[in-house]
Symmetry: C2
Subunit: 165 residues, 2 copies
C-alpha cells in the first residue's frame, strides 16, 4: 500500500479518523449528487435545473425580490445568480427590472408564465419524497440534523479563515 512509519497508538487513532472522514465526506458528496440526479430527472419536464427550481420556489413563496434578497435566501452570490437569472429570463419565466428607488438594485419578478409553472411544479415534492423512501418524520429529523451541521460548519469556516488556523 502506501508508505507509513511504524505505528504508535496515537498514529493509529489518526488513521482511524482519516477513514471515518473519508466515509462522511464521501457520503455527503454522494448524497448531494444523488439528490441532484433525481431532481434533474423530475424537473426535466418543467425545463428547470435544480438551482433554478430553488430560485422559483423562493419567488413563488416570496413574490418579487431584489437579487440581493434572493441571494440571502439561497446563500448564493451574484456570480451564480446573474447568469442563472438571465437564463430564467430567456426562458420567459421572470423579468428583471432596475428598481426606481435604488438604481443599484434589480427586482426579479415572475412573469405570468412563471406563476403558471407553479401548478405543474406541485407534483414535484411528492415524487421527491417518494424517491427518498423516507417518511415525513424521518425527513424532518434529517433536515434538522443537516441544518445543525451547516450552522456548525459555517461558524467553523468563519473562524478558520481570519486566523487561518
Amino acid at each position: 500500500m502506501t508508505v507509513t512509519p511504524p505505528s504508535t497508538a496515537q498514529e493509529n487513532a489518526t488513521e482511524d479518523w482519516l477513514h471515518l472522514d473519508s466515509q462522511i465526506c464521501f457520503s455527503l458528496h454522494a448524497a448531494s449528487r444523488a439528490f441532484n440526479g433525481v431532481y434533474r430527472v423530475i424537473l426535466k419536464d418543467l425545463g428547470l435545473t435544480y438551482p433554478q427550481y430553488l430560485v422559483m420556489l423562493v419567488l413563488w413563496e416570496q413574490g418579487t425580490l431584489p437579487v440581493k434578497k434572493l441571494g440571502e435566501h439561497l446563500r448564493l452570490d451574484s456570480g451564480t445568480l446573474s447568469p442563472l437569472l438571465k437564463r430564467l429570463e430567456t426562458a420567459g419565466l421572470v423579468r428583471r427590472e432596475r428598481s426606481a428607488r435604488d438604481e443599484r438594485s434589480v427586482e426579479v419578478r415572475l412573469t405570468e408564465e412563471g406563476v403558471a409553472l407553479r401548478d405543474r411544479a406541485l407534483e414535484v415534492p411528492r415524487r421527491i419524497v417518494t424517491a427518498t423512501g423516507f417518511d415525513l418524520a424521518e425527513i424532518g429529523a434529517l433536515r434538522e440534523r443537516l441544518d445543525q451541521l451547516t450552522a456548525a460548519l459555517d461558524a467553523a469556516a468563519a473562524q478558520e479563515l481570519p486566523g487561518n488556523r
Copy 2:
C-alpha cells in the same frame, strides 16, 4: 402573493409537501456547500480542491488504479475525472500511463510527491470533525442515514428514467 385556486383539503396537503420539500432540498444543498467551504479552507494549504482530495484519498488507500475503477469508487465519470486528473498530474501528484495489458485503460499512479502529501493530509480529518461540532457516533449515524438516502435516490432515479414516470 401568487395566484392559487381556492383550496380543498387535498390541495392544502400538496402545499404542505411543497413546503417540506423546499426545506429538505434547501438543507441538503446548503449542507453540501457548507462542507465544501470548510474543505476549501482547510485544503488550501495542500493545494487541493475537495474532489481532488477525494481522489487522493482513494489512491492513498487503494494504490494504483485505472480511471474506470477510480470512477466506480467515487461515482464519477471520465468527463469529470479526465480534466481533474490532468490537473493532479500537472501538480506533480500523479502519473497517468496507458496499461500495457489493455491499451484502452489508463493507470493512475501516485508520484513520490503524491505519496508524501499523505502525511500532511493526516491532520485534515481531525479539523473537519472538529468543524462539524458532532462527535464520532453522531457522524456515524448521519453517514448511515445519508447512505440510505443515496441508495434510495439512486434506485428511484433508475426507475424514473426508463419509464420516465
